[in-house]
Each structure stands twice: as C-alpha cells, then as structure tokens.
C-alpha cells in the first residue's frame, strides 16, 4: 500500500519541470516500473518534492522511478527505475506541421 503520510503529490506536478527536457507531455505516457513491473501512466506516480530535486516513485511498490535534479545550468536525470516509457509522438507530428 502507499505510504500513510500523505506527503507526496503526483506525476502531474512534475510535468512543468520535465517539459524542459522532453518535447512531449510525459503525464500521459505509460511506463513500467523496473522493480515490480506495474504499468502506469506517469501522472499516477507518487511525487516527492521535499528534496534537492524531484523524486517519482511507483504508486504500487513505492520504489524510485525517476529522479530529476537541476544544478545551475545542468539537469541530472536518472530514469533507471523504469523499464520503458511509451510516449505519444503524434504531438511531435502536429508541431512539425506548424
């Protein structure tokens, strides 16, 4: 079960920061947890922001999916907690037509 202290948000709240790196929206992307195998949308991840960066955890097993830390002009991105992330590229096709 999820933690009892409701000190987390969810993947929706990370979307602004992630838009600095990804050209497509990540909240609607489906990913698989590398620890328990759960397949969820990134929006459903539990997000912890009381850290130097942001930490997204699997809503099922609570293991770390993603870490994102910005330091000056660099962004550190650690995604080893996800086996894959499936992104909807129709957004890219739309933008390339503009």
């Amino acid at each position: 079960m999820s933690s009892h202290a409701y000190d987390y948000l969810d993947g929706n709240a990370a979307a602004g920061e992630l838009s600095k790196i990804f050209a497509v929206d990540l909240t609607a992307a489906e990913g698989q947890c590398a620890h328990c195998g759960a397949k969820k949308h990134f929006a459903e991840a539990h997000l912890y922001t009381q850290a130097p960066g942001i930490v997204a955890r699997c809503p099922v097993c609570e293991e770390v999916l993603l870490r994102l830390v910005s330091v000056h002009h660099h962004v550190f991105l650690d995604m080893r907690g996800m086996t894959y992330l499936c992104l909807d590229t129709t957004q890219l096709q739309e933008s390339s037509r503009e």
């Binding site: 999820s2 987390y8 948000l9 602004g16 929006a43 459903e44 739309e94 933008s95």
Partner: protein, 254 residues
C-alpha cells in the same frame, strides 16, 4: 492515452498580463490573464507561475486553469491563499490589474477532458481541487456537450465554495450537471447530511454507478484523493477510469 488533445508546441515561459480579479471566497481569488502568444489549453491542464525577486530569487508554483478553452488567449486561475505560502499571498493580495506574470504552460495531457468524450463523467473535488473540474464543466457548457456530468464537491463549509453562483445557474439548466455538496465541517441549516468526510454511502447516492463506466476525475489534497479514489475502486470502478490529480496537504502544489 489515445485521444488526449494536447498542443504539440513546446512548453515555454511566457508573460501574461493581469486583466481582472474575482474573489471566490475570503481567501481565494480568481486571476484573469491575457497571454498574447498562448497556444490554447485543454480542460484539466495547469500552468506553473514563477515569481522572481529583485535579488534574483525565484519561486514557482502550479495552478490549475479554471477557464474553458478559448481562442482569445485568456487564462483564469484560482489561487487559495496559504498563511505560510511563498507565492499565494502575493498573487491574492498584492498583484494588481495590468501587472505582468511569468507562466509556463499549458501543462499535462492525462488529467484532461475534451468535448470529444461523450461518456458519463464523474467529477469529485476536494476544496480547491474544484478548479480544473470547473474548467471541464465550463468547456462542456461552452460547446453544448450533453455528456452526462455529475459533480461531488467536498468543501469545509458553505463560505468556502468556489464559483457558487455559476454552479447554481448551471445546475438549473437542461442537460445540467448534477451537483452534490459534501460539507466536512459546517453545513447549511437543515442540510440532510451531518458534516463529515466523504464515505461509501455518499459515493453510492451521489455518483454515477460503476456499470455506466464513467470516467472519474478526482482532484484535491493528497489525503482526499486517496480516500475518494479508494471509495470509487471499492464501488466497482475500474482503476483505468479513475484519473487523479493531487495537491499538497495544504493545497499548495509545490
């Protein structure tokens, strides 16, 4: 994730100009912004607002968009003032019409409703979690959608209800949104339900049954969202049909 309508344009910081205010409650204010190069939004999306002090210190917060999609580059956000907040006291007390604000958006492509959706929709709001759901209600009304909508709005007391008159007007129309208020602390006189948190009996009486397979949108503080999503799942709704968006324990999103 198929069917989400999201602009493919890159999310960048833009500058909006404050054109109007409206106080929703004693502590919450709606701010209307005009953003010249706004690419348009979908109901349910949010923006990040960034304030920068003269010494360069900056703080950003996320706020859901309350207004329906429009082509005029207008965006409304409703901000609840938090006593120990870093951003919300400024936005609700010091910001003036014609002031400019930095914002990034629109953000998010999962917690969204578009008029292409014709299935029943169950909205469940906890406190200021009503904001993105109000955008969905407004969008539905603006395009004349007849998608069956119900709203369960959990709120501390009658004085804390956002958009009260507009919700009441909408509830009187045909193809209306069925609205149930659930007061947690203080209810109006002769209110049928004792003030308290949402529970299985309320879910059973005030929300679409699971056999109609509604898409459910739940938004509010994290503890509220966990409770509401758990009650929906226990009532037989598929987890795939329950979309959630969590605010912080204080309603602040970061």
């Amino acid at each position: 994730m198929a069917g989400t309508a999201v602009s493919g344009r890159r999310v960048i910081w833009r500058v909006g100009t404050v054109v109007a205010f409206h106080d929703e409650t004693a502590t919450a204010r709606t701010i209307t912004l005009e953003i010249p190069d706004w690419p348009g939004h979908v109901s349910g999306q949010h923006v990040d607002v960034r304030l920068t002090a003269p010494d360069g210190y900056s703080a950003a917060r996320s706020y859901s968009i309350a207004s329906a999609p429009n082509s005029e580059g207008r965006v409304e956000i409703t901000v609840e003032r938090l006593l120990d907040g870093e951003v919300s006291p400024y936005l609700t007390q010091e910001l003036a019409v014609t002031d400019r604000l930095e914002l990034r958006g629109p953000i998010g492509g999962w917690f969204v409703w578009t008029p292409r959706q014709t299935e029943p929709v169950q909205l469940i709001a906890g406190g200021s979690g009503i904001v993105p759901l109000m955008s969905m209600i407004r969008s539905r009304a603006a395009v004349g959608s007849t998608a069956p909508f119900r709203l369960l709005y959990s709120v501390r007391e009658p004085g804390a209800v956002f958009y009260r008159d507009e919700l009441q007007l909408g509830a009187d129309h045909s193809h209306c949104v069925g609205i149930t208020y659930a007061y947690t602390r203080v209810a109006p006189k002769n209110w049928p339900r004792t003030p308290g948190r949402i529970d299985p009996a309320l879910i059973a009486s005030a929300t679409w049954p699971s056999n109609l397979a509604p898409t459910c949108y739940v938004c509010g503080p994290t503890s509220f969202v966990e409770t509401a999503a758990g009650l929906l799942a226990a009532a037989g709704h598929s987890p795939d049909k329950i979309k959630t968006e969590r605010f912080g324990p204080t309603g602040d999103r970061k």
